[in-house]
């Protein structure tokens, strides 16, 4: 089947098999491998990206369901060679180790701040509960999000 969607500001028209998951479409058809697969069961959030401006897990959506939608992946955040402030905050605050959860975390964290620009630490914890990290124990991730909210690194 044919789908047409906007990915990182670019209109993409593709012929896909109907069974294709959105994350497979992004990784295999468009070679946008920044979005990772960690569990296949929407438990870990490594595949989080923005669908019409909201963070969703792309392993449980068919690419066909995203037809006509506007998608932003981790690769689409940096503008004019400048990192998104959330990416900068994760880097400066050691909000990552292996980095596998990082793209999904960053996408979820941006979505969180769009809903609540100045969250408390507890609100950040609640907001990121759907994204697993196995390396950091979450502390530096939460510090990264709080630092970004405060506008500093």
């Amino acid at each position: 089947m044919k789908i047409s969607l906007t990915v990182n500001g670019e209109l993409r028209e593709s012929e896909i098999e109907p069974r294709t998951l959105l994350v497979q479409y992004l990784r295999e058809n468009l070679a946008l491998t920044g979005t990772n697969i960690g569990c296949d069961t929407s438990s870990c959030g490594a595949c989080s990206m923005h669908l019409n401006g909201e963070a969703v897990k792309s392993c449980t959506i068919l690419a066909a369901q995203a037809d006509g939608c506007n998608i932003t992946t981790i690769e689409g955040l940096a503008k004019g060679g400048k990192m998104h402030p959330m990416q900068e905050a994760f880097m400066q605050n050691h909000g990552l180790q292996c980095g596998y959860c990082t793209p999904g975390m960053v996408m979820a964290a941006i979505s969180l701040l769009e809903e609540n620009a100045n969250p408390t630490e507890d609100e950040v914890r609640v907001g990121l509960e759907g994204n697993l990290c196995r390396c950091t124990g979450y502390h530096n991730i939460i510090q990264s999000v709080l630092a970004c909210a405060k506008g500093g690194n």
Partner: protein, 760 residues
């Protein structure tokens, strides 16, 4: 160093001791970092593995006819298609690449297929007809130890039996406490699923494999043996590693991927799903430990006696080394002369177990810390006091006869942890997400009781028992830029930033380029056993020092000075006895100095039949205090705070150190209250992240961490490995806190709701 404090980065150069930023941070936050799952090749095929649904069965027949007929299938391979050695293994080569006549665990590989698409692979696997004759499942450790049980493998049902007898094993204490402890099977649960891409050389003369692993050279050796090739024909490149924690020390898809590529003459990629990952790698050994502690009236430990049984599952992996670590750490971080201990690692039809962060010591610590609390109660002492009265110090002798010559600030770890303020009393509103049970919102604040518990541990660093796990590194200095080459697997721990910090400090350069991590240099050993800061850090340090010596010789020659009076100060070379000051960038202009250094730790010995011998290299220590809130009606637990003081030697990067401490604590919390692979008669019941629960941001406790910074003279950088200690004694601390809150004598981990509210 408190987790909630704001980080202010120093504007100074990112040398040792600063929280230098990771060089891979930009790529990892932008989605540009290439994990092993991200690699693709022109004309690439996909591979997949057929696995046994039974824990123990005879393979009566295999019929792949229908699978071969599926369009897009390029090859199907079985045990007979393995050209070299039919088996592999880290210590004993006892695990078949593909099962031949019998399968010994659920998920054991039987065949692999290469096809044009992952879906074609799955259809082909489903079309392979296999007739099994199910065999009795050996799932019990005691039956495995019983010599009358028929062996399920030609090598027998016991991987290792070891005893330790020291001092006066017949001494009897004034106070005796006894307990039996059970530890569940934990999964490393790294997020980055197993993936590899193999490129065959023209004519099949060799192969290159991009893979996420902990130890490139050991993988290469095992792959080459199974392919029947010389090791130099097999080249490994580290694909980005999405966490490891021990699960990438063994072979999983490496041999299968290479075989498929060589057979088809095309690049082949294999990538596991989460479910397959649970079957594709080894887990932490479950076990049962029985201990009897003897003490005098003053609380001084007199003797530890008892036994330990660890279930290694179907194949050897590192079971014998895990068992050594287990039995030699049953003593805990406490001085004691007398012991009588016995331990077995068994082979069963359960999933194979091997390395996971803590490596046998997690199990031992859960038991010895339960015992220390029992001793405190029997003596009328506090948990802190009983531990302080027995705290090990430098110069003490272990049950093995080995003298602890590492820095050993055990009492200081306990005292500094004890001095950390306790968290505020709970003030929960109904439905608060902070309540035990989190977003389940079922907990009732009136049922909540708070508890406090302790755990203290000792952990060996590096490999043991005579193993030479050396590490090699190369440093090249040219025009003020240092380039480092090593085969050290960066799995997330941050060795890449440490290596740069070392080079900047030693050489006075700012730009440090890291060459590809691959097998084009000697082995760095495994990224495990808390060893890379010490071993690969020592190798990078050594290579940089050799380069600096040659640079000093050049500068001394030009300026007619003695090179011994030169030193690096910031980014300059200075004459310590005169006015000369020349920037390193200038001094190295037009030069190219290259040196390679092989770092070895001091030799160790195997244990004798009574468990005597200097088997370990060095030790690190840590204390944990846990505060928990327990809903006693529902059996739900919220870990409120973990206070910890850890013996780390010299601090080299405060923020990466804190990241190791906090991450390790979260994994230890998982083993305490959440994480268990449920196995019923060899059948895995929960191979998914829906049913195997990992700590989330809401489960992670407040962590207050104090690094105990005492320079370790044995270590090349004065720094101890810090990766494993955080996850070891936090588990018994949390379980002790649950005992304290509930009054229940809980003896197994993870603690399940029924262990709290429905005790037997």
């Amino acid at each position: 160093m408190k987790n909630s404090s704001t980080t202010t980065r120093s504007q100074s150069r990112e040398v040792l001791g600063t929280s230098a930023l990771r060089p891979d941070g930009v790529a990892k936050t932008q989605g540009d970092f290439a994990f092993s799952s991200d690699f693709q090749a022109e004309n690439m095929l996909w591979g997949a593995t057929l696995r046994s649904p039974h824990p123990h069965a005879r393979i009566v027949s295999i019929d792949p006819t229908d699978a071969w007929r599926i369009p897009g299938v390029e090859t199907i391979i079985f045990a007979d298609d393995v050209p070299g050695q039919a088996t592999y293994g880290l210590i004993a080569s006892d695990q078949p690449v593909f099962a031949q006549n019998v399968v010994r665990y659920m998920g054991e590989p039987i065949a692999a297929v290469a096809a044009d698409h992952p879906e074609t692979c799955r259809r082909a696997l489903a079309a392979i007809k296999i007739v099994y004759e199910e065999l009795p499942v050996l799932f019990d450790m005691d039956l495995a130890i019983d010599p009358s049980t028929p062996p399920i493998h030609p090598d027998g049902n016991v991987f290792r039996h070891q005893r330790i007898i020291s001092g006066d094993p017949d001494i009897v204490g004034d106070v005796i406490v006894e307990g039996t402890y059970d530890i569940g099977m934990q999964d490393q649960a790294f997020l980055g699923l197993e993936a590899a891409l193999a490129y065959p050389d023209p004519g099949g003369a060799g192969v290159e494999l991009v893979v996420a692993t902990q130890w490139l050279h050991e993988d290469r050796k095992q792959i080459a043996d199974c392919l029947g090739m010389a090791p130099e024909k097999v080249r490994l490149v580290l694909g980005g590693v999405g966490g490891a924690f021990g699960a990438r020390e063994d072979i999983s898809l490496q041999v299968h991927t290479c075989l498929l590529a060589l057979r088809t003459g095309r690049p082949v990629k294999v990538q596991y799903s989460r479910e397959e990952s649970f079957f594709g790698h080894v887990h932490r050994h479950p076990g049962r430990i029985h201990l009897r502690h003897h003490a005098d009236r003053n609380g001084k430990l007199l003797k530890v006696e008892g036994w330990m049984k660890l279930d290694g599952g179907a194949y050897a992996s590192t079971s014998s080394a895990v068992l050594l670590n287990g039995i030699t750490h049953l003593q805990g971080p406490y001085a004691c002369d007398n012991s009588r201990l016995e331990a077995w690692a068994t082979r069963t039809n359960n999933p194979p177990c091997g390395a996971m962060r803590g490596f046998g010591v997690v199990q031992a610590c859960f038991a010895h810390e339960g015992q220390m609390d029992k001793l405190a109660v029997a003596l009328g002492l506090s948990p802190v006091e009983v531990r302080l009265r027995n705290a090990m110090k430098t110069g003490d002798k272990l049950f093995t006869g080995q003298v602890v010559d590492s820095v050993a600030p055990v009492a200081r770890c306990i005292r500094e942890t004890d001095a950390i303020p306790l968290p505020a009393e709970p003030a929960y509103g109904t439905g608060s997400l902070e309540l035990p049970g989190g977003s389940g919102r079922t907990s009732d604040p009136s049922h909540i009781r708070r508890g406090i518990g302790w755990g203290v541990s000792i952990k060996n660093l590096m490999y043991s028992e005579g193993f030479d796990d050396s590490a090699e590194a190369r440093c090249t200095l040219a025009d003020g830029v240092a380039t480092l080459k090593f085969a050290t697997a960066e799995v997330g721990q941050g060795f890449v930033v440490l290596a740069q910090q070392i080079a900047r400090t030693i050489l006075g350069v700012d730009t440090v380029v890291l060459d590809a991590i691959d097998t084009q240099i000697g082995s760095a050993g495994s990224t495990s056993a808390s060893r890379q800061t010490w071993m690969s850090g020592g190798a990078v340090d050594g290579a940089c020092r050799l380069v600096r010596e040659r640079l000093f010789e050049q500068v001394a020659h030009v300026h007619n000075l003695n090179p011994l009076q030169l030193a690096v100060e910031g980014t300059d070379i200075v004459d310590t006895l005169g006015p000369l000051r020349v920037p390193v960038s200038e001094a190295s202009k037009g030069l190219r100095i290259e040196e390679t250094f092989l770092h070895r730790h001091r030799p160790t010995e195997e244990l004798d039949e009574n468990g005597q011998g200097n088997c370990h290299v060095a030790f690190a220590f840590v204390a944990h205090r846990a505060v928990v809130d327990v809903d006693t009606e529902l059996g739900l637990v919220k870990v409120v705070q973990i206070a910890t003081a850890q013996d780390v030697g010299q601090v080299l990067n405060p923020l990466t150190l804190l990241g190791q401490i906090e991450g390790g604590i979260a994994q230890g919390l998982g083993l305490a209250v959440m994480e268990e692979i449920v196995v019923d008669r060899g059948v895995v019941k929960n191979p998914s992240f829906t049913d195997y629960l990992l700590p989330t941001a809401l489960d992670a406790p407040d962590v207050v961490a104090i690094p105990i910074e005492e320079y370790e003279p044995l270590a090349p950088l004065g720094a101890k490995g810090v990766g494993e200690p955080p996850c070891i004694s936090v588990t018994p601390a949390i379980v002790a806190a649950i005992r304290n809150a509930t009054g229940r004598d809980i003896t197994r981990t993870p603690v399940r709701p029924q262990d709290i509210c429905l005790p037997t």
